[in-house]
Every structure is written in C-alpha cells, then in structure tokens.
C-alpha cells in the first residue's frame, strides 16, 4: 500500500480500519504498523470521526414504541396490495401501449392525408383496430 492510497482511504472511510473495504484492510494494517506518519494521520482522522459520531441522532425506546403504535393503528384497516400491482410490468406494458398508440396514430394520419372523406374515417371498418385490420 502506498502512502497516497492509505491517505485517500483514510479520507474516505475514517480512522477505523475495520470499516475499510475488506480487500484493503490487511495491507492498510501492515502499512500502519510500519509508518509513524500513518499513525499520526489516523489519530487526526479519529478526531473528525468522533465529532461526526457525536452528531448521531438519538432515538429513545419510547419514541420508537410510539411510532410502532401509530403504524399498527393505521395498518389494521389497510389491505395489502396484490403482487401484480407492482411496477415490474411497467416497462413492458408501457412499450406495448406506446406501440399500440403509435399504430393508431399512424393509421389516422394515413387516412387524413388520403382521398377518403372524414365520414369514411368515422365509419370505415378498418378503424376497428388501430392497425387497420
């Protein structure tokens, strides 16, 4: 590990080497044991870590319990959505819907610019499907 890589990982993940990416921890630990400068840098990073961690929001048991009760009160009358109402079908469905509409639009435009009268458009049997079939 180079000093530059060590410093960049320190800048990113902080002073606790056990929280660095798994594949860097061993080399970083070895580098730290060898380098007094690395030790100083870790101590300095630790100061920032501690300041950030001190700002972690507090969540009391009572608050969590109150939130659970509020959810339970609302979910008692709330039905679950069926799985098919998910949005996994949306990209395929929208593609098919778009193609359908494009086909219909193409058919109407073709008829508009053809010599048939508007009344033919309304009653023409080939408008039964958007593709003119």
């Amino acid at each position: 590990m180079t000093p530059e890589l060590f410093q960049s990982l320190l800048d990113c993940y902080g002073a606790d080497l056990s929280r660095w990416p798994d594949d860097q921890q061993s080399a970083a630990g070895h580098f730290l044991r060898q380098s007094p400068q690395a030790k100083t840098a870790v101590d300095q990073a630790l100061a920032l870590d501690q300041l950030i961690l001190a700002a972690a929001p507090a969540v009391s048991d009572a608050r969590a319990e109150a939130a659970c009760r509020a959810v339970l009160a609302q979910t008692r009358s709330l039905p679950q959505s069926p799985a098919w109402l998910g949005w996994n079908w949306a990209p395929g469905g929208l593609t098919y819907a778009g193609l359908f509409l494009l086909g219909g639009l193409g058919n109407v435009l073709t008829r508009l610019f053809s010599e048939e009268s508007p009344i033919d458009l309304l009653f023409s049997s080939n408008l039964l499907t958007p593709f003119g079939g």
């Binding site: 410093q7 960049s8 320190l10 800048d11 990113c12 993940y13 902080g14 929280r19 660095w20 990416p21 798994d22 100083t40 840098a41 300095q44 990073a45 100061a47 920032l48 870590d49 300041l51 950030i52 961690l53 001190a54 700002a55 972690a56 929001p57 507090a58 969540v59 048991d61 608050r63 969590a64 939130a67 659970c68 509020a70 959810v71 339970l72 609302q74 979910t75 709330l78 039905p79 679950q80 959505s81 069926p82 799985a83 998910g86 996994n88």
Partner: protein, 192 residues
C-alpha cells in the same frame, strides 16, 4: 446491515408478512423501527419528519410486502431504500433541530459546566456542517457513520457501485471537515 443471523430472521419475518401475517409485521417493525428513525433523522435533520417517514416506510412495507423479492435484495436493503427514497422525495428544506435531539454523553453529569457547553458547541457545529450537505451526502453519512453499515451495504442500499459510494462519502466527509476547520473545531493540518 445487521449481523447475518439477524438479517436472516428479518427475511423470514418478511416472507410471512408477504403472506399477510400481521404478527410477523409487528415483530419486524419492532426490530427495525429504531434504525428507520435513525436513518431518516440523519438525512432529514429533525425528529418530526423522521417520525413521519419511518411510519410511512412501514406502511409501505405492509401494503407492498408482496413486491419484495428476496432474490434481488434482503429485507434490510429493500427497507432502507424505501426509507431513503421517502427522505429524498421530500423536497422541502429540512428543518434542523437536532441539537435538542442529540444524545447526551453518558458521562455528561460528571463534566464541568464549561466542558458541557463546549461539547454542545461542538455538536452544534457538526449539525451546521451536516445541514450544508445535500440529502445524498447526509444519507451516506447517516448510513455509514450513524447506523454503522458497511460500505458495501451502504452502496447496495443507495443503489451505487462501491466506488461511487466511496466518492460520495469522501465528498461528504471533506465538506464536514472544511466546515469544522472554518469554525476552528479541527485544525487545518488535520489530515482527514
């Protein structure tokens, strides 16, 4: 996320929730509510919004339980994504009030008054630094520092590649550091 055993228990409970088991839902919620509140408050900066978001997230878990696909993501990843998306969807500027919400350190009573004041000032400065970050940067800080998730889990939750999450975290940390240097809480020479 949490340990593998806990994650597995959550996944099992979630499977039961998807079958409409309300008892499993209650158990799952009680196991995860604190973390949901913590993540949301870390991003939004105030308890009121965090409470609403955490509750809304669990309502969605119940309502859309059948959409959860265990082959795509474990419960924790799926659920934290819901929480984060709800946070990021809220366009209004967060009302930061987390100074009063912050935990007092355990040894506060034994500290002298000036030390208590200094401690509060420190936390206020960090809160201001956090306020200056974007929601995505705060989300990175909230997941990695406040919730202690691994960088890999954070990346998965935020739907990022590990390297991209690392860059996000780096920029967030650098921004906090710059603000704290301005306020004199850390020295310019502090490396990271």
């Amino acid at each position: 996320m949490s340990g593998p055993a806990e994650a597995s228990q959550d996944d099992t409970l979630m499977q039961r929730v998807a079958e409409g088991d309300s008892v499993a839902f209650e158990m799952l919620m009680r196991r995860n509510m604190r973390r949901a509140l913590g993540i949301a408050q870390g991003v939004m900066g105030n308890a009121g919004d965090a409470d609403e978001i955490a509750q809304e997230a669990f309502m969605r878990v119940w309502q859309h339980a059948r959409r959860w696909d265990p082959d795509q993501a474990g419960f924790a990843t799926w659920f934290y994504r819901i929480v984060l998306n709800l946070c990021l969807d809220r366009k209004r500027k967060p009302q930061w009030s987390n100074i009063d919400d912050m935990p007092e350190r355990a040894d506060t009573e034994s500290l002298l008054a000036p030390e208590v004041i200094a401690q509060k000032e420190e936390r206020k400065a960090v809160a201001l630094a956090l306020e200056g970050l974007s929601e995505r940067h705060r989300a990175a800080i909230s997941l990695f520092y406040f919730q202690g998730l691994s960088s890999k889990d954070c990346a998965q939750t935020m739907n990022l590649k590990p390297g991209a999450f690392g860059q996000l975290l780096l920029r967030a940390r650098q921004a906090i550091k710059a603000e704290l240097q301005k306020s004199g809480l850390i020295e310019e020479r502090t490396a990271s």
